[in-house]
């Protein structure tokens, strides 16, 4: 069982469109591969919007805790405000108050309050789900807006997808990752057998691709690149090819700019289902074959 993690650095380069098409191609493609799907962009999870999933299980996700001051016991000494490094405690007309959004859950105030007037309260920070999609099992989650600990939720979703894949003898887990290079991305990339970076030939796309490739190198993860909207700025595509060539990273294909990709999203389908003959669909199908061959996945006849 192997894990493919789709990343990009910059947001909006087409990770989810590629992941959705891969889900379809694994399920219905010329050489079926049994895959479990995981959407770990828990801040803004969109994969379910194009995979018509039916939710089978819903679980609460308890993230961190936040400090709560018991006003009855507080004598107003202000030590909590002094020890808080997250500017989460303020003196108000009604005594000291914790801003739950700013609170990092470190509990420094709890331990240092001489009156023992502060306690930690666990927060339900989101929900995670197991669903049955048109193209196999899907694990996904919603982190409630303005919550912390997205890395922890990413790990939870990924681990559950992995466990099911092992139980079912699935060939792979396809992970649709978050943008950026920080904590949720590091959690998403951990343990990947292959990282596929979806980039675009814009100055911003290239800049952020370089950062996510540095991250993959830092964690010694095997990495492939594909270029989305490749024809929107051909000089940018050349720049990507040169960069990857210099750093010995294989570019497994280019997807042309194709309005059908957006139309497919509006229609709630992977582009390879919505318009199999569209230029983008053909390109993604080719990239899929390259990716599974690089991952040495055994193909069933």
């Amino acid at each position: 069982m192997k894990q493919l993690v789709i990343l990009s650095g910059k947001g909006g380069t087409g990770k989810t469109s590629v992941a959705a098409a891969f889900a379809h191609l694994a399920h219905d493609g010329p050489s079926p591969i049994q895959a479990v799907l995981a959407d770990v962009d828990v801040d803004a999870a969109n994969l379910e919007l194009v995979l018509c999933p039916e939710r089978i299980e819903t679980h609460d996700f308890t993230g961190g805790s936040v400090a709560v001051i018991d006003q009855e016991c507080c004598d107003g000494c202000g030590i909590c405000e002094q020890v808080c490094r997250f500017d989460a405690i303020q003196s108000t007309m009604d005594g000291y108050r914790v801003d739950p959004i700013a609170c990092d859950g470190c509990a420094a105030c709890v331990y240092q309050c001489p009156e023992e007037a502060i306690h930690m309260q666990p927060q339900t920070a989101g929900q995670w789900y197991r669903s049955e999609s048109c193209y196999g099992p899907l694990y996904h989650a919603d982190l409630f807006p303005a919550q912390e600990n997205s890395g922890k939720l990413v790990t939870l979703v990924k681990q559950n997808a992995r466990l099911l894949a092992l139980d079912n003898n699935s060939h792979m887990v396809i992970v649709d990752g978050p943008p950026g290079i920080g904590c949720p991305v590091i959690s998403a990339a951990a343990g990947a057998d292959m990282v596929l970076v979806v980039t675009e030939p814009s100055s911003a796309g290239i800049h952020d691709m370089e950062r996510v490739l540095q991250l993959a190198r830092h964690f010694r993860l095997p990495t492939l690149v594909c270029i989305n909207k490749a024809d929107i700025y051909p000089a940018g595509s050349d720049q990507i090819l040169n960069y990857c060539d210099e750093h010995q990273i294989e570019v497994v294909g280019s997807i042309p700019f194709d309005e059908m990709v957006t139309r497919a999203i509006i229609n709630g389908e992977p582009v390879t289902v919505y318009q199999p003959a569209a230029p983008a669909s053909l390109a993604i199908s080719q990239i899929w074959l390259e990716v599974i061959s690089r991952m040495h996945l055994e193909l069933k006849p």
Binding site: C106, A107, L143, E148, P179, G180, I186
Partner: protein, 282 residues
């Protein structure tokens, strides 16, 4: 006045619009605005505003350093640490810098005073003048470091606005802690979306964050291509003013890819964005 450009979904055009707004204000107002690139994981605004980043400062978090000569391995530090960043194994106390949030709890509570704090670099903040007299500052997270929030927090303090200077903050995508830290203290949120189910789904979340933080917001619809009734319905049901609509044009996409702002591709947006600013301000 602090304007923050956010979106939920990535790639909707936050940075292009933020940079274009900054250029539009710079042409109309003195002093020109202060631009803060708070997307420290994937900072891109410099590609559009070309700042000279001559001033730099490391951002470090204070992490514990244990003096083994004084440590009795009582385990109090590990007990108070909520992040499992310090552990006592037999006669050794181990620190895991990547898990540490720098809260200082272990240092303050060690009964032997065996812990001191040492700075651990996680990134850098940089600033300098950009085109059109814009003051520019950004944070950059070091590759491999997980925590963006302390850098954003540092950036906001390190680059304060002059009296009367408008601040424009560009933010990372998403809706969790880095976005919240970027929004904190803003007067207005400009939420950039695109007319697709992905754009709408993530706009919903961004609107919720703004609401929880008590910051008023307005919507910019980018890459409009025909009508998308679900988005219009959402905006009107939630009394969200659509402040600007930018049509899908291949020439815009090509220009942005080359590092051009909207006002360079279509100069008439200078006026449009200025009028939008006046409308929000009043």
């Amino acid at each position: 006045m602090i304007f923050t450009i956010a979106s939920g979904k990535g790639g909707t055009g936050k940075t292009t619009i933020a940079a274009s707004l900054a250029l539009s204000l710079a042409a109309e107002q003195s002093p020109p605005p202060l631009f803060l690139d708070c997307d420290v994981e994937a900072p891109n605004a410099h590609l559009f505003l070309h700042p000279g980043l001559d001033e730099q400062q490391d951002v470090a978090m204070l992490i514990p350093s244990v003096d083994e000569a004084r440590c009795t391995h009582c385990g109090r530090c590990a007990e108070v640490c909520q992040y499992h960043a310090i552990a006592v194994l037999g006669q050794k106390t181990l620190v895991f810098p990547q898990l540490c949030h720098g809260c200082g709890s272990c240092t303050a509570l060690c009964p032997e005073k065996a812990i001191t704090e040492i700075p651990d670099r996680m990134g850098v903040v940089e600033r300098g003048p950009a085109i059109a007299g814009i003051s520019f500052a950004r944070g950059v997270l070091d590759v491999g470091e997980p925590m963006a929030v302390p850098i954003i927090r540092h950036l906001k303090k390190w680059a304060p606005a002059l009296p009367g200077q408008v601040v424009i903050r560009d933010t990372p995508p998403g809706t969790s802690c880095p976005v919240v830290e970027s929004m904190r203290g803003s007067d207005f949120l400009l939420l950039v979306t695109e007319p697709t189910p992905f754009g709408l789904h993530d706009l919903r979340l961004a609107v919720q964050v703004g609401r929880e933080m008590g910051i008023p917001s307005g919507v910019i619809i980018n890459r409009e291509n025909g009508s998308y009734p679900a988005l219009e319905g959402f905006c009107s049901e939630n009394n969200l003013l659509v402040l600007l609509r930018i049509p899908f044009e291949r020439v815009i996409a090509e220009g942005v890819a080359q590092g051009k702002t909207l006002v360079e591709i279509h100069p008439e947006y200078k006026v449009t964005l200025w009028e939008m600013f006046l409308k929000i301000r009043d």
